[in-house]
């Protein structure tokens, strides 16, 4: 979905930034959003400064939306990992480049690939 939405905006995606948030993803404001996720999910530092940065970049509603999207994927990750939702083989093949760039081979193996 990230690739498709970037293509729809005609923006160039640098996938490596998902694994290394110090890199530029190509998503406007992306570095700030990645830092927000790292602090809130990954406990990578104090929350208040990054919350202010997100609010400065995206406004108060953007901050709540960033927290809400983060929250949604905390939910979806647990549903996927609890149910063992199969990943279609076609998705694995079409996403091979992403798997390689992000080092996901070990995670793919959990789903039988």
């Amino acid at each position: 979905m990230l690739r498709a939405s970037m293509e729809a905006h005609r923006w160039e995606l640098h996938l490596e930034a998902i694994a290394d948030p110090t890199l530029d993803s190509g998503v406007p404001g992306g570095t700030t959003l990645l830092a927000f996720v790292d602090v809130t999910v990954g406990r990578a530092g104090p929350v208040e400064p990054i919350r202010r940065s997100v609010a400065d970049a995206f406004g108060p509603i953007g901050l709540v939306r960033a927290a809400a999207v983060t929250a949604n994927f905390e939910m979806m990750n647990r549903i996927a990992d609890g149910t063992g939702m199969p990943v279609p083989r076609s998705s694995i093949e079409s996403g091979r480049a992403i798997i390689d760039v992000l080092g996901l081979e070990r995670l793919a193996a959990r789903h039988g690939h």
């Binding site: 990230l2 998902i18 406007p28 901050l63 709540v64 647990r78 996927a80 990992d81 609890g82 990943v87």
Partner: protein, 209 residues
């Protein structure tokens, strides 16, 4: 109270969804009572160091499932799910438990990310679970019965009320299933920003899906 946090007030649709979730959590579900659902939530928070330990009548398998799904979901696997079933948990109760713990994780992440802390768990409501079995689900490649399909939207269909609850929160926090088809949609953030967040959360959680 976290649901009344000033930053959330700007998005009343999200506040309403959080309150609906708390109502659902407290009410009897399909296979667990309201007291059991709240006890599952307490166990899930205990695993994250949020709630203090309280006496519980939950079966050991349910306590184990709530703890792991809450604090270390990446460590699950088919053998782990089989061990829960061997311990007496059935697929129906396990799937409902996944839904309860997963949505609690979302609610807690939202409020803590905004600096609002944790909403106190609701008082359980009396009543019996509906015990309405699902139709059209079967055990295949997944670890729980589900319909044939390739979308995670069906993952909890073995307990349809849990699918509906997931869709309710998903639509408020992120996008409705219909909105997901639009790569140009913007809701406070543009779609690329939303998807970048989603990708990084999933990577940190070591979730391949």
């Amino acid at each position: 109270m976290p649901f009344d946090h000033h930053e959330l007030a700007a998005l009343p649709d999200i506040v309403a969804a959080l309150r609906r979730e708390w109502e659902r959590l407290a009410a009897p579900g399909t296979w667990w009572s309201g007291a059991e659902r709240v006890a599952i939530a307490a166990e899930a928070r205990l695993a994250r160091g949020v709630e203090a330990a309280t006496p519980t009548d939950l079966p050991l398998g349910a306590r184990e499932a709530a703890r792991v799904l809450s604090s270390a979901p990446h460590s699950t696997g088919p053998g782990w799910v089989r061990s829960l079933l061997d311990a007496g948990l059935d697929h129906e109760r396990y799937v409902e438990l996944i839904g309860v713990v997963a949505r609690l994780a979302a609610v807690d992440r939202l409020t803590t990310a905004l600096g609002a802390g944790h909403e106190p768990l609701p008082e359980p409501r009396p009543g019996e679970p509906s015990r309405i079995p699902a139709e059209g689900t079967r055990l295949g490649r997944a670890w729980v019965p589900m319909p044939q399909g390739r979308s995670i939207v069906v993952a909890l269909d073995h307990v349809p009320a849990e699918t509906e609850a997931m869709k309710d929160l998903h639509g408020s926090l992120y996008l409705t299933i219909e909105e997901m088809a639009d790569p140009l949609i913007a809701k406070g953030l543009g779609r690329p920003q939303m998807e970048l967040i989603a990708s990084r959360v999933s990577l940190l959680n070591q979730c391949f899906y």
